[in-house]
């Protein structure tokens, strides 16, 4: 039934606005040839590298799992987890000009599930904040629940800790995305393993979402997909038409491509593929998609490795995620993914990923025009390909791009940098 719903409803690729404007209608074979030439040119042409300014970090040593996020007022927030003997704490700090505020503690625990790929999210709006972390739920080391707290600016207080999923099943719950949706409410989406524990063996991972008030009350909850990839991040963004959620699907034939569902007309649309990669794997890629939105413009970046050929791709939409362009190749074949996507105020798109070089890795950002043309590629930092270096995260404020990652060269330390695209 699931596959019938999806019916391989692959979205028709849009011809990029740049190519249509310049060349008009192009026959299919010529278009493919042109696309190949353009792709080769994009991949081979040396690009200007933007300046990277390393900022001081407010996180103590032995910190990792950092994220950057901003509110509509242009305030940048950094969140991270600090581990001490037998305990973990989730903090955040805000950047004021060039100084970070005193770290604020969101929560602390001795039974958290700490994982390099599945880690806390901080969501912020002008009035509210929300944050989550993962807590071990049972004797099985891979059974964990989502815990969350919500900050209400009106009462200047955090809510009690709630668990957004009410299934009570000891299973995996995680890979959370969060998004402020107005009126102090927060949209959360997550992978929910309530159906994985069956007598017949390991069942199917589901994608669920809910809307929660500033007091942590569940206002709505949905199952968005009954069978998804078990171990990849989800992504969420607010388009002009409403929230969109992206994730890695899992078809009956073990195709694990990137899908999107949109909230429209009071309900979630049936999930459809961003692109028909046809990556068939009976395993966990641990490389979820990311999405960013600005008005009707939506950008989705993702990792795929069909035929054991790794690459990072980008697709853009000009209609709030209803249709997407053909994929634009961002990197490959030395990428290990761990991507993020952001949109600058000027409409340009930034995609970050890790590239491997011998035993090291490079945290790299490529900037694209809204039409998908490569502008430049910048190596933000040399880091480790180790899982302990985690997933770098980006955020934009205006045309500034902020990036955070974990440096494990001298124990885990949180790094933050500003990428200056304005310099010549």
């Amino acid at each position: 039934m699931k596959d019938a719903v999806k019916e391989r409803a692959i979205l028709r690729p849009l011809i990029s606005e740049a190519s249509t404007a310049k060349y008009g209608a192009i026959p299919g074979a010529c278009r493919r040839l042109l696309a190949g030439v353009v792709s080769a040119w994009v991949l081979l042409t040396p690009a200007h590298a933007a300046d990277v300014e390393l900022l001081p970090s407010p996180a103590a040593k032995n910190s990792s799992l950092s994220r950057v996020v901003s509110d509509k007022s242009g305030n940048l927030y950094l969140s991270w987890v600090t581990q001490t003997e037998g305990s973990a704490s989730l903090y955040y700090s805000t950047l004021n000009e060039t100084r970070w505020s005193e770290p604020q503690l969101v929560s602390q625990g001795e039974d958290w599930f700490i994982n390099w790929a599945d880690f806390p999210v901080l969501s912020v709006s002008a009035e509210n904040k929300a944050a989550h972390w993962l807590r071990m739920s049972a004797e099985g080391s891979y059974d964990y629940d989502i815990d969350a707290r919500f900050y209400d600016a009106q009462t200047d207080s955090w809510s009690d800790t709630i668990t957004p999923h009410k299934d009570g099943v000891s299973a995996e719950h995680g890979f959370v995305s969060m998004l402020p949706v107005g009126n102090g409410n927060t949209l959360m989406s997550w992978l929910d393993g309530r159906n994985t524990k069956t007598e017949a063996g390991y069942g199917e991972m589901t994608l669920r979402a809910g809307i929660f008030s500033a007091r942590g009350e569940t206002l709505s909850e949905w199952e968005l997909d009954a069978r998804v990839c078990d171990c990849c991040q989800t992504g969420a963004a607010m388009s002009a038409a409403g929230p969109v959620i992206v994730y890695r699907d899992r078809s009956g034939g073990e195709i694990r491509d990137i899908y999107i569902t949109r909230y429209a007309n009071g309900d979630w649309t049936p999930p459809v593929a961003i692109h028909d990669d046809q990556w068939e794997i009976a395993g966990c890629p641990v490389n979820g998609p990311s999405v960013a939105a600005q008005g009707d413009f939506v950008a989705v970046g993702w990792f795929t490795a069909k035929d054991d050929s790794p690459k990072v791709q980008l697709a853009v939409s000009t209609d709030s995620g209803e249709h997407f362009s053909a994929p634009i190749r961002v990197s490959g074949p030395d990428t290990i993914g761990r991507i993020d996507t952001a949109i600058l105020a000027n409409g340009q798109v930034a995609v970050s990923w890790l590239d491997t070089s011998d035993e090291a890795a490079q945290l790299t950002v490529s900037r694209f025009s809204a039409g998908g043309s490569l502008i430049d590629t910048t190596v933000v930092a040399r880091t480790s390909a180790s899982r302990r270096s985690g997933f770098p995260i980006m955020e934009t404020i205006g045309d500034d791009l902020f990036v955070t990652w974990t440096d494990i060269s001298e124990g885990p330390e949180v790094r933050v940098a500003r990428v200056d695209f304005a310099s010549p």
Binding site: S141, Y202, C284, V286
Partner: protein
């Protein structure tokens, strides 16, 4: 794929150097004291949170026991690179019976970290990667690859 070969090339270069300087090769020479070194190896990358990895483990436990007499070792790699004590704790919880390599032993293999879990590499006795099996495998699929690569005799005589 070049990164995948780096470790192998270094080891091969060392062996060439040994032949050039000493004048002969030591077939069994290896500075690698890791479990299974010098044998055909089935190197399985797993993680505690990877459901198909957990499903494979009983099969790999049995395969390791059954093939040890035939010069094939099954060894594991914790994809998450947790500290050694934690890795061993997780391995015990997952009831992994085959040896789990240390992070240093994994680094010496020179393998590209897999893009998908589980991934199982087949290594020849000199450490060359002869097969990369992506996703969950069956006992028969691994044995078939070992036969194809010459690590096992085909018991059916096909």
């Amino acid at each position: 794929m070049n990164a995948l070969k780096t470790g192998v090339n270094r080891q091969t270069a060392l062996q060439f150097l040994l032949v050039a300087v000493v004048g002969f090769s030591l077939p069994a020479f290896s500075s690698d004291k890791a479990p299974g070194a010098g044998k055909w190896r089935v190197v399985n990358y797993w993680s505690e949170w990877c459901a198909p990895c957990r499903i494979e483990i009983p099969m790999l436990n049995a395969l390791g026991q059954e093939l040890s007499a035939q010069g094939v070792a099954v060894v594991g790699v914790n994809f998450d690179e947790d500290p050694r004590a934690l890795t061993l704790e997780i391995a015990e919880e997952l009831e992994i019976e085959f040896p789990v390599l240390t992070n240093e032993e994994v680094a010496r293999l020179g393998l590209r970290p897999p893009d998908v879990l589980p991934t199982t590499y087949l290594l020849s006795p000199d450490g060359e990667v002869v097969a990369k099996l992506i996703g969950m495998q069956t006992d028969a699929e691994i044995r078939e690859q070992l036969v194809m690569k010459g690590a096992l005799f085909d018991e059916d005589g096909d």
